[in-house]
């Protein structure tokens, strides 16, 4: 159709190829992200995962290390967690949190400073009645 191919098309084609190459490079180095799991899905998992759940007591503090339980947000499966590093002011029993780490002998060992506490839906204080 076109009389001579425009250099713009060449640029676009080359750039798309370049971007794809960068993307492939990244995925081959870093892999496809970290699995995000709940405590019930943790069994038999080796390697680093991201664990999300609701904090259940008791919370034990020992210097910079805290130990607490984490339960499925909608469920009953629970795992004990040990973690050291920064803890948000929002952290307490009942809050939803997530952290990176791995399962070691049935205890989830969190990576330093990876704990994130989700804000309690700050804009809608309560669902009526719940």
């Amino acid at each position: 159709m076109s009389r001579r191919s425009s250099p713009a098309r060449l640029v676009v084609a080359l750039s798309v190829a370049g971007l794809l190459a960068v993307f492939l490079l990244y995925t081959s180095i870093a892999g496809g992200g970290t699995a995000s799991l709940q405590p019930s899905e943790l069994a038999g998992r080796a390697g680093k995962v991201q664990l999300a759940g609701q904090v259940v007591g008791p919370i034990q503090r020992e210097g910079r290390t805290i130990r607490f339980g984490l339960r499925d947000i909608e469920g009953t499966a629970t795992v004990r967690v040990t973690y050291s590093g920064s803890v948000s002011d929002q952290f307490r029993v009942g809050r939803d949190v997530y952290l990176a780490g791995r399962l070691v002998n049935g205890v989830f060992v969190g990576e330093r400073d990876s704990l994130v506490t989700r804000c309690p839906s700050k804009y809608a204080p309560k669902a009526s009645g719940a």
Binding site: L10, F23, A124
Partner: protein, 662 residues
């Protein structure tokens, strides 16, 4: 008077539907009076929405807890400005604000755009009205801000971290940006619907796009400042989905602002510009959806609500409508001119566009990754900051370089000999800066060194442009250097305002790189009387103080700071305990050096009963350049936005010379 608010919103919905249907019919049948009537309906929808907004503002000001919304977000002891800011603190109010800004900007753009051509405007009205109908429907039927109850004695109050001036300004700025991107989209769709794909839709929306883009950029920076001072983890941006939600449309709009110049100057990239405008608008709706639906793992977990399904449907409709229109009108969008050379200003704009869009889409990929991986592999997987940082570096560095190269290359084509001459100065500046930085020890981060050399190159090229332009103006007969400079900028506001914005982006890059790649972090547990060092600073922990403030108990660790022999006074990081809200908040201490732009940032991460404190100390070089960049950014945007009488006259002459030919 919640009834008045409700009635006003129903009226706004009715008017929006009328503007949609009557406007569509008028444009289709080419009926002048009906088209005017639809325009008036859009303006009236704004007035009705404004009445509803006034009702809500009055209720917030009076702390009328019979409004469920007011009771949920304020309390009687909350200061007035924060009580008013609750307007955009919750879901319902935010949607009302969306509608208010949309109808306001839409009405203004339609009224001022009339001179550009009623034939296009006639189609723009129903498009804007369609979006307005969606939001009006939400505030009328799904999330009304005017729900009432038996007034409780006291409201629930506002989260302490939101009681901050930056947080008062941040959401409305972002909304102005998000919503403002509707205008160029609506005009593009209007032009396609009218089958009139000449330059008029671009001329009519240029300022609106700049305005929206400027607000979106400023809003993000204010949000970053809030995060830095108030959230207090030692950073200002964390690739959180909600932050990404604002970044994506901003990047797409940045690409559009550049490529649109190619269309104006060379008549090229017409189809591409439509694609970018659709992308920017879709991403801005998607951003609103992300912040409003709580779909993703995010520390900004907003109230989960049925609103997600509504938004998803709306986004699908918007994208399908845009794509249909784009492909059905594609033959009209072919351009007559071609790119003449790969070494030309046009070509650098093209590269810049590809990089910006690629960056925007990689961020989108990262945001969607958890959802996509769950759909495809049945397991949610998340992507960390490493992913985003990798792509920011891979695409950001070339972008930085292009920002310096672009202004030095002529339109159409440039010979290598000419390039050698224009590049000499900026290249020299870059090399000198690189050597100086190496001597100062910036080699500790090779990436930082490269980026700083690029930054010096860009600044060199910008200064070079201003100097050469000013002396050319002087040679053309300007009376003095300052007046030559004034003439230079005022004769081409967009070009030189654009360079000022570029300078802001370079400052931002310098600040971000300095405060991340060259920062020092120290963590130590100290008892009163002990000391620690961080970079050049020594911090001696003297005592823990307990104070009672109006609504909080304040715990402060007093640290005496010194640098070498110089005593720098004390800083007091700590925590606040709010008994009413039952919340704690971290109160970081920041000591800024106005001369070097360096911050000493101290967090009292954990305070034990016996007075032992676990401190986290950051030394962040050049971080204050980020906030300075905000000021420069606003200045540059204002220069480009400032009305240009000469240009207005030319455009008026153009439409006057092109009379109706029906």
């Amino acid at each position: 008077m919640p009834e008045l608010g409700r009635a006003a919103l129903v009226a706004a919905l009715g008017l929006a539907i009328y503007a949609l249907l009557a406007g569509g019919l008028a444009a289709h049948r080419r009926k002048r009076r009906l088209a005017r009537s639809a325009q008036n309906a859009l303006v009236a929808a704004f007035v009705a929405t404004a009445v509803a907004a006034i009702v809500l503002v009055a209720a917030l000001a009076r702390r009328d807890f019979s409004f469920v919304y007011v009771a949920q977000l304020t309390s009687s002891d909350l200061p007035l400005p924060y009580a008013l800011s609750a307007f955009w603190g919750g879901q319902e109010g935010s949607l009302l604000l969306w509608l208010l800004v949309l109808t306001g900007l839409g009405a203004a753009a339609v009224v001022t755009g009339r001179r550009v051509g009623e034939d296009v405007i006639a189609w723009v009205v129903p498009v804007i009205a369609g979006v307005a109908t969606f939001f009006a429907l939400l505030v009328v039927a799904v999330e009304s801000p005017f729900a009432t109850q038996v007034a409780p004695a006291e409201g629930a109050g506002m989260t302490p971290s939101l009681q901050n001036p930056y947080m008062v300004a941040h959401p409305p700025l972002l909304y102005l940006g998000y919503v403002g991107l509707t205008i160029p989209w609506a005009f593009a769709m209007g032009a396609l619907l009218a089958r009139r794909v000449d330059e008029r839709w671009i001329v009519a929306t240029r300022r609106w796009t700049l305005l929206a883009w400027g607000f979106l950029g400023l809003g993000q920076l204010v949000g970053a400042k809030w995060a830095y001072e108030e959230v207090g983890w030692g950073g200002y941006f964390a690739w959180d989905p909600v932050e990404n939600a604002a970044l994506m449309p901003w990047l797409a709009a940045t690409a559009f602002l550049h490529s649109v110049m190619i269309q104006e100057k060379r008549g090229m990239l017409r189809a591409w510009n439509v694609v970018l405008v659709v992308l920017a608008f879709s991403l801005s709706i998607f951003g609103t959806f992300l912040t409003r639906s709580g779909i993703l793992n995010s520390i900004h977990a907003f109230a989960e609500s049925p609103i997600g399904a509504w938004f998803l449907t709306f986004i699908t409709l918007v994208v399908a409508f845009s794509l249909y229109l784009f492909f059905s009108r594609l033959p009209l969008l072919r351009s007559k001119t071609r790119l003449e050379s790969l070494v030309s200003r046009e070509a650098t704009f093209l590269y810049n566009n590809l990089l910006l869009v690629a960056l925007s889409l990689t961020v989108l990929w990262g945001v969607l990754f958890p959802i996509l991986s769950e759909a495809v592999r049945g397991e949610q997987r998340t992507i960390g900051p490493g992913y985003y940082n990798f792509f920011l570096q891979s695409f950001g560095l070339p972008l930085l370089l292009l920002m310096g190269i672009g202004p030095l290359i002529a339109w159409r084509r440039a010979s290598l000999r000419a390039l050698r001459r224009t590049f000499a100065w900026p290249m020299g500046a870059a090399l000198a800066a690189g050597v100086a930085l190496l001597a100062l020890g910036a080699g500790s981060s090779p990436l930082g060194l490269v980026a700083y050399t690029f930054a010096a190159f860009v600044l060199g090229s910008i200064v070079h442009e201003f100097v050469r332009g000013t002396s050319a103006r002087k040679a053309l007969g300007a009376a003095s250097w300052p007046s030559a400079f004034g003439q230079l900028v005022s004769h081409n506001r967009r070009r030189y305002g654009g360079y000022v914005v570029h300078a802001a982006i370079v400052l931002l890059a310098i600040g971000v790189i300095g405060s991340s790649l060259y920062q020092t972090v120290r963590e130590e547990e100290l008892r009163p009387g002990q000391a620690m060092t961080a970079g050049p600073y020594t911090l001696a922990y003297s005592s823990l103080e307990r104070r009672q403030a109006a609504n909080a108990e304040e715990l402060r660790a007093v640290l005496v700071v010194s640098r070498g022999d110089r005593d720098l006074g004390t800083i007091e990081p700590g925590k606040n305990r709010y008994p009413v809200e039952q919340q704690n908040s971290n109160e970081v201490a920041i000591r800024s050096d106005p001369l070097t732009g360096e911050d000493l940032f101290v967090i009292a991460d954990q305070i034990d009963e016996d007075g032992t404190v676990y401190f986290k100390v950051f030394v962040k070089p050049l971080v204050n350049l980020i906030w300075l960049a905000g000021v420069v950014f606003v200045l540059g945007t204002l220069i480009t936005l400032w009305p240009d009488a000469r240009e207005a006259r030319r455009l008026a002459a153009r439409s006057a010379l092109a009379p109706s030919e029906t």
